[in-house]
Amino acid sequence: MALALKAQHSFETEDFESRRKVVKFTVLRKADPDHVGGAELASFEETMLPHLDAAHNLARWLLRNEQDAQDVVQEAYLRAFKSFGGFHGSNGRAWLLTIVRNTSYTLLKKNRAVDLTTTFDEEIHATGHESASPAAILEHAEDAELIRKAMDELPVDFREILTLRHQEGLSYKEIGEIVKIPAGTVMSRLARARAKLKEYLAVRIGKER
């Protein structure tokens, strides 16, 4: 379709005397997309905006910073829109989360390389043994703040896999596709993440006493 143009001109009589009637045009849209672009955008928003909470939650856990999370999610949505033509699958959430993850890692690599190395405070966690029993951990299981703090201390790949499994309820196959590891590795990484979290919880509970 042709360019969308907007016309305007003055109605005052003096214009007839002073000069020829003139008109101003403003190009409202770039070439062509008044239908294609609008329709594609509508379809994109319909498919992807319902997953905004999931996208934000993942970015927030990966980056541990609200402002960064919002910037990354916005950037990820723009990237997703640009490659939306290549999306033919049915699992919009997994597709979007893959892009959110990639965008988050780009930022982590650029700004905070330290976050990507799986170091953690050996001082705090060098106890070597669990200082609280499984029963004590279960007693504190309802303590959301405790769980949040312990989870925030985990290395990024552990935070990521726990979020995808426990909060999004994704299958090993879906997680494997997002994180780009085989399903068997998903299981072993989840096992290690849970064991580590349990250890951190135990240390925290031990300290509270």
Binding site: L41, Q74, L190
Partner: protein, 276 residues
């Protein structure tokens, strides 16, 4: 199976990701080995603690708006509100605009072309809105709107209780029918509460269930005698809708959980609902 192997596969077993054969072997081992059974119980409790305790960071409203406006910028579409504002300004203050007027362009042909194009755009956008939806589509729209509204306005439940013996009597007194209410906590779909809603031109019961961090709204109302009983799924705007019916009631489950979870939910609900 030896303990070492059972421990190694425990996470897969817990997550229901093992093949049936291996699953069965672990089950057998847990029956035989007290130590592994205890480890499994502790592990399950930890998994539940993570699912329940870890905060889910929902996106703030400003972020949604920011994204939508940046997408519009990317595609070059201006939102209709700002366009309307400009059109108004154009009619009311021609004098202010005159400074911008470019000379030397004959107005008549271009103005005519522009007017035709504008009219065509307006007409086509109006026509697409006027297309009548089918009754199922219309109902699906209502269901999704109701589901989204219940989560948005912080009005998920009128009666918040995980006890089916609290929710059911409450709904019974408010409605002219008595919907079946069952708690499915042990199946991983805890009952959160109940709510009154209005759909398809009648008051309906909305039962609210949770699946991990996601909510399922189950809308229930009496079935018309000629209604189709065949289960049906619809996916729209990223939401899953699942419809089924029994001799008494129509059921519509709406959620953003995946189709398999919703199917499991239906099976569990049907198994636990008393047969007529």
């Amino acid at each position: 199976m030896i303990c070492e192997e059972a421990i190694k596969l425990m996470d897969g077993y817990l997550d229901g990701e093992l093949d049936p054969m291996t699953s069965q072997k672990i089950e057998q081992h847990l029956r035989d080995c007290r130590k592994c059974e205890e480890a499994y119980e502790a592990h399950t409790a930890l998994a539940h603690a993570i699912s329940r305790g870890a905060p889910y960071y929902k996106a703030p409203t400003e972020l949604r708006e920011r994204i939508q406006s940046s997408l519009r910028d990317a595609v070059g579409v201006r939102d209709s509100r700002s366009a309307a504002r400009e059109n108004r300004a154009l009619l009311t203050s021609p004098r202010a605009e005159r400074r911008l007027v470019l000379p030397e362009i004959p107005w008549n042909w271009l103005a005519l072309a522009a007017a035709i194009i504008l009219a065509a755009i307006i007409a086509s956008s109006l026509l697409s809105q006027l297309r009548p939806p089918t009754s199922d589509q219309f109902l699906a729209t209502q269901l999704i709107a109701s589901h989204v509204r219940s989560l948005m306005a912080d009005h998920l439940t009128d009666v918040a209780s995980s006890d089916q013996h609290t929710v059911k009597p409450w709904l019974d007194t408010k409605l002219d029918f008595a919907p079946p209410v069952v708690d499915l906590s042990s199946e991983g779909f805890p009952l959160i509460g109940g709510r009154l809603d209005y759909l398809d031109n009648r008051p309906v019961a909305a039962l609210v269930y949770q699946r991990r961090k996601h909510f399922i709204n189950l809308f229930v109302w009496p079935a018309a005698s000629d209604a189709s009983k065949a289960p049906k799924t619809i996916t729209r705007q990223g939401y899953q809708l699942l419809h089924w019916a029994d001799s008494d009631f129509n059921y519509w489950a709406v959620s953003d959980v995946n189709v398999n979870d919703l199917q499991t939910f239906r099976q569990q609900f049907e198994t636990r609902t008393p047969r007529h």
